[in-house]
């Protein structure tokens, strides 16, 4: 059951950016998870004090492994330990995966528009990977809003997928610093840029937005005003709590 705490072994640990790390976990008895779900992680100090935070799963497996990507928050309680201290061979406790709303299943047939702000890419990457690994022919499009090229997660994988996949299109918006030769100057995401870089209302896409609260609120508002049905928009937020998520 998803409510039990289970021991997870850290089996891999890979830096994504200067402040973010992808952590691979193996959990005895884990029976796969859906793309978009999250897990709770519990850390316990040697005097018994413990803290729990939720993290989105980055890779939805069919087995006993899963991956999360953790971005370090400057004043975070849990994330600095996960990003800076945790090593392969360590153990921690997890609960989940949980969540049945912000998920994509290979049996879903609608086209999908994903909209990520910064580290909000994590659960959306899980959907992209699940979609890529499946026979599902639905069209996927990702709009990834980033501060700078260096702050992007999964850069090589997304570059390869964006180039080779016939069912995935990726658009980037850079808000502070753009790559060399990028056609647009860096600027905050606007409604106009958003609407120019996503699937039209016409194919009636399922829309998943994930990012900081303000990003998610703003983008959701623009989409509704532009006539995308509110019922087609699913949101997930990070940050704003002093913790993650």
């Amino acid at each position: 059951m998803s409510t039990l705490w289970r021991v997870a072994d850290v089996v891999s640990s890979t830096p994504e950016t200067e402040t973010a790390r992808t952590i691979g976990l193996r959990v005895n008895g884990l029976n796969g998870n859906l793309a978009g779900q999250h897990i709770d992680i519990r850390l316990t100090a040697d005097d018994g004090y413990s803290a729990v935070r939720s993290y989105s799963v980055a890779r939805a497996g069919l087995d006993e492994t899963l991956e999360i990507t953790v971005d370090e928050l400057a004043n975070g309680e849990v994330s600095p330990y996960l990003v800076r201290e945790l090593a392969v061979g360590d153990q921690l406790e997890i609960r989940g995966p949980v969540g049945g709303w912000f998920v994509w299943k290979p049996t879903d047939t609608n086209p999908v528009q994903l909209i990520a702000g910064g580290s909000g890419i994590v659960p959306l990457m899980s959907m992209i990977r699940a979609h890529h690994a499946s026979e599902n022919p639905a069209q996927f499009r990702l709009l990834y809003s980033l501060k700078s090229p260096e702050s992007g997660f999964y850069r090589e994988e997304l570059q390869t997928l964006g180039r080779d996949s016939r069912k995935l299109t990726i658009d980037y918006v850079y808000t502070r610093k753009a790559p060399k030769d990028w056609p647009a100057a860096p600027q905050r995401l606007t409604a106009e840029t958003l609407l120019a870089n996503i699937l039209l209302k016409d194919p009636a896409p399922d829309i998943f937005i994930c990012g900081q609260t303000v990003f998610v609120e703003t983008v959701g508002e623009w989409l509704v005003r532009a006539g995308y049905p509110a019922a087609s928009i699913k949101t997930e937020r990070f940050g704003g709590t002093g913790g993650t998520r």
Partner: protein, 197 residues
């Protein structure tokens, strides 16, 4: 016993007896919703209660505001592990709204503008434990936090405090609402850590 992470020290605020198990205190007021926030003008707003006999009680904004108003000071606990202590609200007690409602149902479904639903047993709504709140911290409730009015059931996890509340449907049987159909607990008592189903 838990696995010990020797390099982890943490912040140690969970010694606070006001915090349910597994919760930490936050000073901010995070927004968590499943989709975009609906926009409802108070002129168009209505609150209803429907009974098993098909009776419908309804209040316009003006009628709702004419009911006895209560100031509420309470802690709130989100299932994503944050708690906010000592929040202040103003609203109408569900006891007032249910005063002339005749029912033998034990369960209810709260319905929100935008389609959100959450199930709450009637005993959790009555006895001075639940309100329809329209003011937070002395200001009209912001739309992002459920304005013009939200359900406030602070002794349960905060997803039960439905934003943009529209009404309450009485039910003979307990039926899962939105999050309750998506992996979350039917009841949601933070002191029993009733987080997930």
């Amino acid at each position: 016993m838990g696995i010990i992470s020797s390099g982890f020290h943490g912040r140690r605020q969970s010694g606070n007896p006001a915090l349910p198990p597994g919760q930490y205190e936050t000073g901010s007021f995070p927004v968590l919703t499943a989709g975009p926030a609906p926009r409802i003008a108070t002129d168009d707003w209505e609150f209803f209660i429907t009974t098993e006999a098909g009776q419908r009680h309804a209040w316009s904004w003006a009628a709702f505001m004419a009911l006895p108003q209560t100031d509420i000071e309470t802690d709130i606990h989100c299932v994503t592990s944050w708690s906010k202590l000592g929040t202040s609200w103003r609203g109408v007690s569900l006891d007032s709204l249910f005063e002339n409602v005749e029912t033998s149902c034990r369960f209810t479904m709260a319905h929100s503008y935008g389609g959100y639903t959450t199930n709450v047993p009637i005993e959790d709504l009555l006895g001075g434990r639940a309100w329809v709140a329209w003011e937070f911290d002395g200001e009209p409730l912001e739309r992002a936090h459920g304005g013009p009015a939200r359900l406030l059931v602070p002794h349960l996890y905060f997803w039960k405090s439905a934003k943009w509340i529209n009404g309450i449907e009485l039910m003979r049987e307990d039926v899962p609402g939105f999050w309750e159909s998506n992996g979350y607990h039917l009841h949601g008592d933070p002191w029993r850590e009733e987080r997930y189903s």
